[in-house]
């Protein structure tokens, strides 16, 4: 899929801007704080109806304005597509081919995006939360109903934690029954989430491991594992999983009541990454950690292609200059001619690769983006 045109109105520091893109590589060049990341973010929002930088939609509205608008014209294999996000003080609206979608699950997934920003280099050594977010967003764009399951899970979790925190305020029999019910509800969604995560990571592993050994010229192997707070014997057998989760919650019930919080479930799980059979989070060098993050991101490109039948857009915000020559060229070789890519950088000096020679260059300055080549 290709983003042909992007139109911004009262979005971040853009008052009114319309940009056309080519199908290969588009580079935004500019000093700091001019609006490069803002453009990347706009494209991301078009795909996910949500920023990668902030949970507060209103921040995207240009200061002192009533509303902000992002509009994109996309070319997909089976025809053109128009997407629009309008954010006002009251909330946001998402339009798919000019028709407002009441549920975001009907909107998300039409425009697939893989983003790679400096903070993604933290994917490996950052907190488990960073890795959970990574898994969740990536699964979400190929399976939007997963996002629904996640949000239901979050709501139940909140209810359950409140109940555990306020124990002793009600009759014991009532409390026990409420806890039982909330556990049943929690488990229903927990197994859906965990099973999907297992399935996704298995696919990711299949794509990532050849890429990783490619980047390292066969010197390193990468293995991905899901670290679950509940031992799961078969992630495809839902009935069995439900049993295993129920057993776990029975076992930790006393402890949960004592601590006043939910102590198992997908909100506590993590993603384990092994390079040459060693936990790269603990034992990996910074270089190995970066390569691992890059392998995961590149694997996603292929994974999305195999799952949805088309390549996603690739957004590279400030990372190209962060990578050494061999990683840089591996990245650019992978995308060459296949993946529409958006790159930001303060300068193109020193990036010699073939792929960039035919790229469109835009000068970004003070909330404007002008085609210069």
């Amino acid at each position: 899929m290709h983003l042909k045109e992007l139109q911004l109105n009262n979005y971040r520091n853009y008052k009114s801007e319309e940009v056309s893109f080519q199908d290969q590589v588009n580079v935004f060049i500019g000093e700091n704080a001019q609006g490069k990341t803002n453009i990347m973010e706009a494209i991301y929002v078009l795909g996910f109806a949500k920023s990668h930088r902030t949970p507060r939609d209103k921040e995207l509205i240009r200061w002192d304005c009533e509303y902000g608008k992002i509009e994109g014209r996309i070319q997909k294999r089976n025809g053109p597509l128009s997407l629009q996000i309008v954010i006002s003080q009251k909330g946001k609206k998402a339009k798919y081919n000019h028709i407002e979608q009441r549920r975001l699950t009907d909107y998300i997934g039409a425009l697939n995006i893989v983003m790679f920003a400096p903070e993604d280099l933290n994917l490996v050594k950052g907190s488990p939360q960073v890795r959970r977010r990574f898994i969740d967003m990536e699964i979400g764009q190929i399976s939007p109903v997963y996002l629904h399951h996640l949000s239901q899970y979050q709501k139940i979790l909140q209810q359950r934690n409140h109940l555990l925190r306020d124990l002793g305020r009600r009759r014991k029999s009532e409390q026990e029954m409420m806890l039982d019910i909330l556990t049943e509800q929690l488990v229903e969604y927990a197994v859906k989430i965990v099973s999907k995560r297992h399935q996704f990571l298995k696919m990711l592993q299949e794509w990532a491991s050849p890429i990783h050994s490619g980047i390292t010229k066969g010197k390193e192997s990468l293995e991905i594992q899901y670290k679950s707070s509940v031992q799961v014997s078969d992630s495809a057998d839902m009935t069995k999983m439900i049993e295993e989760y129920n057993d776990k919650f029975t076992k930790i019930k006393e402890k949960e009541m004592e601590r006043g919080t939910t102590m198992a479930g997908p909100h506590r799980d993590d993603l384990m990454l092994y390079v040459n059979e060693k936990d790269v989070q603990i034992y990996g060098s910074q270089g190995q950690q970066r390569t691992t993050a890059l392998s995961l991101k590149l694997a996603e490109i292929d994974l999305i292609k195999s799952e949805v039948g088309e390549y996603p857009l690739l957004l590279l915000d400030d990372v190209l200059s962060e990578l050494d020559d061999s990683r840089q060229s591996h990245l650019l070789n992978t995308i060459q001619g296949k993946v529409q890519t958006f790159v930001t950088t303060t300068s193109v000096d020193g990036i010699e690769h073939e792929t960039l020679k035919s790229a469109s260059l835009f000068n970004v300055e003070h909330g404007t983006a002008t085609l210069i080549k």
Partner: protein, 198 residues
């Protein structure tokens, strides 16, 4: 902005209504000033009377101007089935459909630990009492199709299960208006599924 006290009081009153913000409240208040005195008087009387003359049915807890309510009094209705709902608005919506001929039970809320609402804060015990004699044979759980509504339905069904009374679950349509959020294919399919035994 400074208004004479009678107007600012009126504005404050309008703002207590759901969905009415300051701007609308001001518009409504000034509209009232333009109305004929008789109409204003009728309006005020209607407000007071609605509050004074309406109570809750001591049997089903639906809002009513006489106790028991018209639905509970109507002997032509099917006395063996009770439809359990969150609030009186649900009863009115169901009655509009004219499909259902049984009785109701209004819970006045849903179980939600986050809001500090447990089973004893809603009319669960009152429902169980209605099942004491053998008249009722089926409970239709029509609580909202969200987490809290589901939890409430599950709670009641666990309490009732030992009596052998049949319990079914119905989701009456989709939540309306709601914010744009990561929701909900499941709700839709449930609404279409209709009643299922739980």
């Amino acid at each position: 902005m400074h208004y004479p006290e009678p107007i600012s009081k009126l504005i404050d009153s309008f703002m207590k209504l759901p969905g009415i913000g300051p701007k609308t409240a001001v518009r409504l208040a000034f509209f009232v000033l333009e109305m004929k005195e008789d109409d204003v008087f009728e309006f005020g009387k209607a407000l007071v009377n609605a509050k004074r003359d309406l109570t809750y049915c001591s049997n089903c807890h639906h809002i009513t101007d006489r106790d028991p309510c018209m639905i509970c009094e109507d002997t032509s209705r099917d006395q063996t089935t009770i439809c359990v709902v969150h609030d009186s608005k649900d009863v009115i919506a169901m009655e509009k459909m004219r499909e259902y001929r049984g009785l109701y039970h209004v819970l006045h809320g849903a179980i939600s630990p986050v809001e500090g609402i447990g089973p004893e804060d809603i009319k669960v015990a009152e429902l169980i009492k209605r099942l004491q004699d053998d008249t009722v044979q089926e409970l239709i759980m029509a609580t909202d199709p969200n987490i809290e509504g589901e939890a409430t339905a599950m709670y009641i069904s666990r309490l009732v299960k030992p009596t052998g009374i049949k319990i079914t679950r119905i989701a009456h349509g989709l939540p309306v208006g709601g914010d744009l959020e990561y929701a909900d294919e499941v709700t839709l399919s449930r609404a279409l599924e209709g009643r299922r035994e739980i």
